[in-house]
């Protein structure tokens, strides 16, 4: 058996490594994703003041601090037996829409989109935001920068600090909104809304009107028939901040819907010895290996998982786009991995519409933004991070100190699906040991669609080119190395 290692993955600048195992004919036998997981969180959290958790956990990730901040804050609401005032929930959700806006814009224009806008066969050096500018023009780039910054600014105004919010407290938030801030946010939201519509049009022009891309999206190697999971409101519409966790099956029928406090009854985690990854699966279906279909408990989270797991979007324009996506791609559920990109843009539109509803709400300037806490105990919180369902679970002792902490992060929820997508994409594009950069990029595309998040300690100076391919013989001894620019 020969092994091809793609490391590091271009543009996904973490430490993820894809190992592709070839058989003696040079065809793909299997492919695995290796992610060095951050270790020792439970021990690190032990004995800390519970109210520090929203600040501490927001440091885990440089990109989804807001998601960790609120998963932690909601776990504390539950642990301290307190329900925040309506205005506090709205402020939290408004901040959250700012995060979704900047995160989804960043992913589409900087990370996922270049594959389509510049083209999957383009050299790696062009498949980035600079390539997008060349193709789409400087004005688009200026708008990208502007609206990404608006999303950041909204979170900074509400969160009290740029990037890492400090507003979440058990029972509410520490900071309300002034009338001036409302006006400022309103203007930014309106502009972001226009830009979200523009982005969906761009996607239509560049991707949907190009038959090659639509065929690629719908091709077998990028299709996975898993269960889908996401938070829904009481009408089963997508919600990022609150609701019940809903799981739907391969016919888009509801398999289960539960409160996050019962997550351990529904989700189990398998630890594979050979991998750094944990593989979560649905308990009611069971683990049957890395395979899709109704008999496998593997599920998907993130933009496509959420849209599949819901009955629609709670805002009118996003709802229209939601229907259009399912109509175009052959009904529900959509199992095309690359449709994550489309789903992400529909969510971007939703986030701007929802932000408008919230900022127009009379409650948003209320000063009743915190309720007193009760006695501490166990608490579980959930939010939809940009890349999927995120759960924090704490046991708090009588003094308010953390006894035990656990997290399931979005990328872990997607671990089984990501591994299968990488394998299937590799099978589709590598034959008889023939590997070119365009082909390798298609493997990465499978992976990038999920917008996976690795450990955030990546201050690495690599000693070589962005992509190195190592081929090992069947004894896993290095047999050949080559790099691609």
């Amino acid at each position: 058996m020969k092994t091809i290692t793609i490391d590091p993955i271009t543009r996904l600048e973490g430490h993820g490594k894809i190992n592709i195992f070839l058989n003696d004919h040079g065809d793909v036998e299997n492919a695995y994703l290796q992610i060095p997981e951050l270790r020792g969180f439970e021990k690190f959290a032990e004995g800390r003041r519970a109210e520090d958790m929203p600040q501490i956990t927001s440091r885990i990730c440089g990109v989804c601090p807001v998601a960790h901040h609120f998963a932690a804050t909601k776990a504390l609401d539950a642990a301290f037996h307190v329900d925040p005032p309506a205005a506090a929930k709205k402020l939290r959700e408004l901040l959250y829409t700012g995060y979704i806006i900047y995160d989804h814009i960043l992913h589409f224009y900087f990370l996922g989109g270049p594959d389509f806008v510049v083209g999957p066969e383009a050299p790696a050096a062009k498949r980035n935001i600079l390539g997008v500018i060349e193709k789409a023009g400087l004005d688009v780039a200026k708008d990208v920068i502007k609206h990404r910054a608006y999303g950041q600014k909204i979170t900074a105004i509400l969160g009290g600090k740029a990037t890492h919010p400090v507003c979440g407290l058990p029972g509410g938030v520490s900071k309300g909104l002034s009338k001036e801030e409302v006006v400022e946010i309103k203007n930014m939201v309106a502009s972001c809304h226009t830009f979200a519509k523009f982005t969906l049009n761009l996607f239509e022009d560049v991707v949907l009107k190009n038959k090659t891309y639509v065929d690629l999206i719908q091709s077998d190697p990028y299709t996975l028939k898993t269960y889908n999971m996401g938070l829904v409101d009481k009408h089963n519409k997508v919600n990022f901040y609150d609701g019940l966790i809903r799981v739907t099956d391969q016919e888009a029928q509801e398999l289960e819907k539960f409160d996050v406090k019962d997550y351990t009854k529904h989700i189990a985690e398998l630890v594979e010895e050979w991998s750094y990854m944990k593989y979560p699966y649905l308990k009611s279906v069971g683990w049957h290996g890395l395979t899709d279909g109704k008999t496998s408990g593997i599920y998907r989270v993130g933009p496509l998982g959420r849209l599949n797991a819901a009955d629609g979007m709670a805002t009118p324009q996003a709802e229209k786009e939601y229907k259009r996506m399912f109509d175009t791609l052959g009904g529900k559920p959509v199992n095309s991995t690359l449709a994550f990109h489309w789903a992400r843009l529909i969510e971007l539109l939703y986030a701007t519409e929802r932000a408008k509803e919230l900022i127009d709400d009379a409650d948003i300037t209320s000063t009743h933004i915190r309720n007193p806490v009760g006695t501490p105990g166990e608490g579980i919180g959930v939010v939809e991070a940009a890349r999927g369902t995120l759960i924090h679970h704490y046991h708090v002792d009588k003094k308010g100190l953390i006894e035990k902490a656990n997290m399931i992060v979005a990328t872990t929820n997607n671990a089984g699906a990501i591994t299968m997508s990488v394998r299937d994409a590799a099978k589709g594009v590598i034959h008889k040991g023939h590997v070119t950069e365009g082909l390798l990029n298609k493997v990465e595309m499978a992976f990038r669609a999920y917008d996976p998040c690795f450990g955030c300690a990546t201050h690495t100076l690599p000693g070589g080119l962005p992509m190195t391919v190592n081929i090992y013989d069947h004894r896993r001894k290095l047999y050949k190395t080559f790099s691609q620019p």
Partner: protein, 152 residues
């Protein structure tokens, strides 16, 4: 010259946070009012937001480099680096962010950016303290920054 010394790192991933420790140590040594000391737990586009408007930027960050041992202190120009990774896998590198800003002809870009890198090894385990090897490199990094600031 309007200068910022920016320590980058994650404060809860042990040696990864060495850049932040260097800034703390500099606060006691530095008196020049023209120099801003700042820390950041982020990368790419967010770093760009922080350095806009300064003429000179000195970044301090943990680096991993093939063939070096933890605790070495090295000076790099931004152009020496194939990529300067952001502190997360979802952002662009600072080099890419800067190229983008240059293409957009942003007016307030720094004319000089250098990186003081402290080589590290383990950055995958939660913890607030530096390993003794990396901690012993902090004074070296501080001196190198002070040396660098003499020319401003």
């Amino acid at each position: 010259m309007k200068t910022i010394v920016l320590g980058v790192g994650n404060p809860i991933l042990q040696d990864d946070g060495v850049g932040l420790h260097v800034i703390e140590a500099l606060r006691e040594r530095l008196t020049n009012p023209k120099v801003t000391l700042e820390t950041a737990m982020t990368g790419g586009m967010n770093l760009l937001d922080l350095i806009r408007g300064y003429e000179k930027v000195i970044l301090i960050d943990a680096v991993k480099q093939l063939g070096s041992h933890p605790g070495e202190v090295k000076r790099f120009k931004l152009t020496d680096l194939p990529t300067v990774h952001s502190c997360n896998p979802h952002d662009v590198s600072l080099s890419e962010a800067l190229q983008l800003a240059e293409q957009l002809k942003e007016p307030q870009l720094p004319s000089s950016i250098i990186l003081i890198g402290i080589t590290v090894d383990n950055t995958y385990e939660f913890g607030e303290h530096l390993s003794s090897t990396v901690a012993s490199a902090v004074p070296k990094a501080v001196n190198l920054v002070l040396e660098e600031l003499k020319n401003t």
